[in-house]
Amino acid sequence: MAVRKTRLPKPYRVQQLDATIRRGRTVHETNLMHEARKLGVPVPAIQHIDPEISSFVMDYVDGPTLKEELYVVSPETRRKQCDLLGRTVALIHEGGIVHGDLTISNVLCGDGKLFLIDFGLGDFSNELEDRGVDLLLLSRAMKSTHTKFHEEIFAAFLHGYSATVGKRLGVETVTKMREIEKRGRYFDRA
């Protein structure tokens, strides 16, 4: 089974800007997915790319998003899944890739694995700053969706993440995440 992802023109962007963004992101996303797969990270395999229509075809992953799954599974399973997500994200970071749009909607649960999708805003980067942004986006997505247990699942994520990248780098990345968060508006900087 396959699925096609096509970036449609957006009426809210002038044509010149829109064309550049759509084509650029299509090429970039498929590149990143290919490299992430080479690192051994579960990512749908690319079958075909059509840059001129900002479109590509990839394997279909049969399963819910992690966002959906977290609503229905037991507390134990949701901790286990988020720990696994930490290990998965750590693998791309260690391989020099940042996702750029890391949310629990961009993670598919299938085949006992967690597949990362939607790399369109990602990048090749080893910068702590970019890794911190990934963690911040994920933390915010958890907080805004699963208001009752977001702390617990993010802690589980960090556990898995640190277990893979090592305790020191784990702490450094979280510290950077908090720093980026406080750059936002109206956080007490104390």
Binding site: Y12, R13, Q16, Y186, F187
Partner: protein, 331 residues
């Protein structure tokens, strides 16, 4: 019931009286105007506020035909904002509340922008896009609070326009002037477009826009391109948040909500997702008393008041830290 609201978070000192039904009986404002090429000087703005405060509050009561002794509550914007400015409004509000034994109601200025937006548009459960000098945030109501789904990672959309304007000697707030200049061009210059998930970042766009200007591009072309890129970035972040939250309404509110390019782009986003676009009534885009008075009325009806001794200003009061006890979760 009558509630007096006092706004003094930044350049505007405003006062307003509203009724329990949401009628705005008065809306009086006096804004500190900075010299062209400069921004708000907090101390000077605070001095301005202390000079105009008595007249603005008296007129707000007079225009409403309400005596101070008839008030059921005095609402004050305790933050977020500039400390010296906040303290002027807070002092005035505390005096009235203390003298007439009227409950004092703490209001978060950003929540004020949201509530005046829902009051004037009838939006029920919107994805809120709050754009002003102090905010560029995308929020939705969940679990008793307005949760931030996306925001700027550095400067706000209002900052972008104001800081750009300052360099070319325009007065702030500069949004309307930049919009006028932008309308004279359709020549798009490539500028950095930075969206990170549901977040945006405008600092690189500011630097690049100023650099293009120095390199000889026309002011109109740069204004047009900067406005296109900045509003499209936010529109994309809003589209992502809309897809994520599945809300069926968008509410654009805050000072920069007056920008027609932004209004058009968000209306386009709404169209893509079968959502209804709302824009706060033009009269209440900028900072004003009614946003504080009406939010105060909602809070008062739910029993939210604050003791004078505890009514310290909170210059960095995040909107997502406020418990919204008066709003029910849409099912």
């Amino acid at each position: 019931m009558y509630c007096l609201g006092i706004e003094s978070t930044a350049h505007t000192f405003g006062a307003s009286v509203v009724t329990e039904q949401g009628q705005i009986l008065s809306d009086v404002r006096d804004a500190y105007v900075s010299a062209p090429g400069t921004g708000i000087h907090p101390r000077e703005a605070a001095e301005h506020h202390s000079v105009v405060a008595e007249g603005v509050v008296s007129s707000a009561l007079g225009n409403a035909g309400v005596k101070a002794s008839q008030l059921d509550g005095v609402a004050i914007a305790l933050g977020p904002g500039l400390g010296p400015c906040l303290r002027v409004g807070a002092t005035v509000a505390r005096s009235i509340a203390s003298f007439f034994h009227t409950p004092l109601i703490p209001v978060n200025h950003a929540i004020g922008h949201i509530e005046i937006g829902t009051l004037t548009t009838g939006a029920n459960d919107p994805l809120v896009v709050l754009v002003s000098g102090g905010h560029t945030a995308i929020a939705a109501f969940s679990g008793g609070k307005w949760r931030i789904f996306g925001e700027t990672e550095d400067i706000t959309l209002g900052n972008l326009y104001d800081m750009f304007a300052r360099e070319i000697n325009l007065p702030s707030p500069a949004g309307p002037e930049i919009e006028k200049l932008a309308a004279k061009s359709e020549n798009f210059i490539s500028l950095p477009y930075v969206v990170k998930g549901n977040d945006v970042s405008y600092s690189g766009l500011l630097t690049a826009s100023l650099a293009r200007l120095k390199a000889g591009s026309s002011l109109e072309d740069v204004c047009y391109s900067m406005q296109e890129v900045s509003c499209s970035m936010l529109a994309e972040a809003v589209e992502r948040s809309l897809a994520y939250t599945r809300k069926k309404e968008i509410l654009l509110t805050g000072g920069v909500a007056a920008n027609r390019t932004l209004q058009k782009k968000l209306s386009d986003v709404a169209g893509l997702h079968d959502a209804t676009p709302h824009v706060v009534n033009q009269a209440y885009t900028g900072d004003c008393g009614p946003q504080i008075a009406w939010t105060g009325m909602l809070a008062l009806r739910s029993g939210v008041t604050i003791a004078i001794a505890e009514s310290r200003v909170k210059p960095r009061w995040r909107l997502e830290d406020v418990d919204i006890v008066w709003r029910r979760q849409a099912s």
